[in-house]
Symmetry: D2
Subunit: 349 residues, 4 copies
């Protein structure tokens, strides 16, 4: 019997990616895609790639009504909007995968620090599990409420968790991230106007990136330590993908890093280690993961200054959002963890 799934906020880029993945998921039926703005319009008006693939119109119905008959709700509403809808959905008993930041941080205080507001439901935060299966698989299996990770956070955490767990790091960890335009969503502005955005390397958030809180939280979760994360985010000339470069100061060598990675990631279905002496793709590169749920992880040891450079590449809309979300749903429902996520990346593209 097919699982009934609703996607709220179906007209955004994350919503569209959820629909694209779910329409080919063997165990799932999409029963509704919510969008107040596009209510009544065909999904493919907004997501033209789904023409001939998903025959559905956006629904402008109240989220609670949409959720009534659903087994799982993906809530891809903007940050802040989830806060208003999710608590009510929880009362209905439906499984929830929330794509916003509203339930990612376990500590209500952190919302003041990173998002500048008082979280209205500190108690609910404990009911959510952070939807990164590589760190929280067992918790996700036992949970009905999942907060999908931030895309920048997912990229950094997957590279840093094994290191933070296994090694002693000196001083702050520098995370220098490069991301494509889709991370900024689908709403036009001067900053995303093609003539202004093409060819940039724009340091759009050199300090104060809100995903810092998530990264510090998860690094503490695996290591027990309060490592500081010094993050800078740059917009680069592409639509999809993140490369996260983490500069970690620690005395180590390649063998030790390999050991840390391998012991942390045992038979993970969506983690690949990329570190080759030959060939073109010696390190992770977003180009090679676009369209797939893989997180590629690599590294290099710098003997000059006891530095370890950790590199990770993901598709921000898949492993950084919709893919991790579906993977978490699969775990929560006891399905094959890889179901619906078998697509390989395109190359070249």
């Amino acid at each position: 019997m097919s699982i009934k799934v609703v996607v709220l906020g179906g007209s955004g880029y994350v919503g569209g990616e959820l629909l694209r993945i779910l329409v080919n998921h063997p165990d799932v039926t999409i029963t509704a895609a919510g969008s107040v703005h596009y209510a009544g319009e065909y999904v493919h008006r907004v997501h033209p790639n789904l023409k001939g693939v998903l025959d559905l119109k956006f629904s402008g119905e109240d989220p609670l009504k949409l959720g009534a008959g659903a087994d799982v709700i993906f809530c891809a509403l903007p940050h802040g909007s989830s806060l208003k809808v999710v608590p009510k959905l929880m009362d209905m008993g439906v499984r929830i995968v929330d794509m916003s930041a509203d339930f990612r941080l376990t500590n209500a205080e952190s919302y003041k620090t990173w998002y500048g507001y008082e979280h209205p439901y500190p108690d609910l935060l404990k009911k959510f599990v952070y939807g990164l299966p590589e760190l929280h698989r067992e918790q996700i299996r036992g949970s009905r409420y999942i907060a999908a990770p931030g895309c920048m956070a997912a990229a950094a955490i997957l590279a840093l968790a094994p290191i933070a767990k296994g090694m002693d790091i000196e001083g702050p960890i520098v995370v220098d991230a490069k991301i494509g335009s889709s991370g900024a969503g689908g709403k036009p502005s001067l900053a995303t106007h093609f003539s202004e955005r093409f060819g940039v390397v724009r340091p759009y958030k050199p300090v104060g990136h809100r995903h810092t809180g998530e990264i510090e939280q998860e690094i503490k979760f695996v290591s027990g330590k309060d490592y500081g994360v010094a993050m800078s985010a740059h917009a680069v000339n592409m639509v999809r993908g993140i490369l996260s470069t983490s500069h970690v100061f620690t005395k180590t060598d390649a063998a030790a890093v390999w050991k840390a990675l391998r012991s942390f990631y045992i038979s993970e279905p969506f983690i690949r280690f990329i570190r080759d002496k030959a060939g073109l793709y010696r390190y992770p590169d977003p180009k090679i993961v676009i369209g797939s749920n893989f997180a590629d992880i690599g590294f290099e040891v710098d003997p000059h200054l006891n530095r370890l450079v950790m590199l990770s590449a993901i598709d921000n809309l898949i492993k950084g959002a919709a893919g991790s979300a579906v993977q978490s749903m699969n775990l929560s429902l006891g399905l094959n963890e890889k179901a619906g996520l078998g697509m390989a990346a395109l190359h070249p593209v």
Copy 2:
């Protein structure tokens, strides 16, 4: 029981795309990927997207040996090389899908005109069917030998066939094509050097494009008429995709064009009509098909000069090569025509 498939020339871009599609094909097992140059190396060294997806090394074995136990051979060798291998493979009785131009033209004379050589096996040409299911479905079903279409040709033919069949065209048909870099293959040169290739609109073949012969052949096949095709090909700033703009002079109107398209393409699984009064994607655009097997077709009627502009967009490596090839294999083997080809395009990307 799974069908055993071999891909010769597996290290090229078309070979890689065949492997990517076939690895997720439900009825198929890839038994070998041939490459003399990369013999013994992992496939993912060359096609890094397949790491963790296809666990296989390239084989440098003789094609005939590789073909011995196979049910189907995809021959993705360079133009000219197929000529040497395919006739021998035919003797072995294996099903063949040839990706080169060597068996696409039914008339041996045309090889002199468009490729500048005397075809050595004019008799074999008749045994091959042109692998565009939308025009040759029944022949493909009954055939063991398929010549996959040229990418530029496929794009133009799919837009023009319904028109050529249904309408009277005056004078030559102008085909103005725009293509990404992957159509030029994987071999580096000054022309493909990133610093020189980035940002170009390079008219690399303003006259004399060899796919012209295919287009004229197929238009004659559907219409019975000897329409002349005046083609120009431009390289543009992207890796995948073709937009083909055909300028056709004929007295017509939108209703008549719709009728021609709809009567020609009845429930085709991979043809989409793109013509919208609203929204962003009012006409075909390669951006929207990349990664899928769709051919998007649209048009506009120009009352100014009795012109009909036919537009078509495909992913050159999929509908223009590997996708049409697998679709043809499915038909030839009596499988579900869509098997392995269900992937939706990415958006945005």
Copy 3:
């Protein structure tokens, strides 16, 4: 003594390009850059490339006031707005270079056909000369009122004028144009949203492009014949540049085309012929003109169908707008025609 110049509509892309060229013009002083929207802000807030180059704030003053002390006014207002301002400026006796379409067509009827409105000042149209020095140098020298050409029109006209003048063309001329995003101006919309615009080959105006009227007008000007122009315009993945591909049906050969080009363009300072048997840039390509005032022209003869393919490449904001405008100003004022326009294109870029 320096010539006092005012740029109205200085905050648009054409306005910015005028400022960039004029600030380095040896004979000119920019006395004001008008912008109601950005009044009081530094020019470099909008045109960040001019920081440290032009120390000026936008003025929100009435155009007539700005024009009072000026020798020359460049009117880079949107189409339709020029109509309201230019007649009043003409009364003041100031020299005017209008960048809009409002005074380009000599025949008032054509405004109905191509722009859908009744031109309110048919008499003024005769006072303007079409600002393409290669066709109208002597008229420009004798005129105080110049209508700078449309960018797509300039590209097509420069390629077609010598052919139309010297040869007999059969049937309509097909103009298939490819343009960067800057041609669409600086105002954000969904169509120009980076994630949606990146990587496109978007047939945004397959029929009915308004520059068609200009092209037909100028071709008639040089040839005396009413050739029909069948134009389609495509947006491609770059910011600047136009490649115009014109498909002309005529019996000719390379020698005759060379002769037509050379006799039409005798020692033109900004026309280059690009047609090389070797090397990478065998035909015009916008990549090679970006940042310069050159129009590159090339061709190929197609013996298959008596077709001549004319190719031209320009920087849409320079030769297609600000550069031709300054060149025309230089002529009108009796200055060195090349003054301020000596910048070479960048390569590679």
Copy 4:
């Protein structure tokens, strides 16, 4: 009287950029452009942007012969080749601006560390001055031998020098650099093949980048301290430009950083400070300097971890190579420092 200038290695990207700048330099005549490989061919075959701008053929003559009559020689030969030519040119008494790394490091030991070879002329190193006018103006004025800086080094040094001089920095300085393809030169390879290079964020040198030595040297020059530099270099999806992000750990605030910048850079002609609360270009971005000799510098203070993020953007071929070289030549010859360098960047592009 015009200064006679020769460019050795004129067919490379740096050589081409030198020619482009020098051809418009008011005080200079280019007497020869050397290239063994392209000897006898027009310069515009290789640098097509110079067609109609520079009427010159490459000379295959011996560098010493070319240098005989020259006042200044720009030596844009590959690293290692300069070593063989420069000492002989020095004997001739000609002024030299060397573009390679062969004479940039003042300490011969450093060549072993960063370039892996024993420098054969340790004595000559002292005769060269590091060609970054912002740090060495007076030395350059008094010198005949200039070593132009490395592009990545120039970007980082210009951002870090004022900070290193004025503040106490804890631990290593992390330099995370993003660069376009032109930095890799004009020679095709698989790594620069368009289909493989397009859309990458490729960490091509996560550790061990050779410009590290230069940066540490110059930071010591201004600060007297042995700060360690931990550098990682990434190739991004563009042709020109560098963004250098430096993560510096120090207790400071914006006012102190402004003071450090302003006192270090007093009326520098090619340094711009970019830090705006509003508008689109709030921080440096290579998009805004391409084509100009500007170095844009900005910063942000991160109170979270006592971090100062220093940002700088340059055109790698201009301020990072040919522009700084011409600026240095101007100083060495007593010319106007800005001569030939007045070009503004293009926007948008």
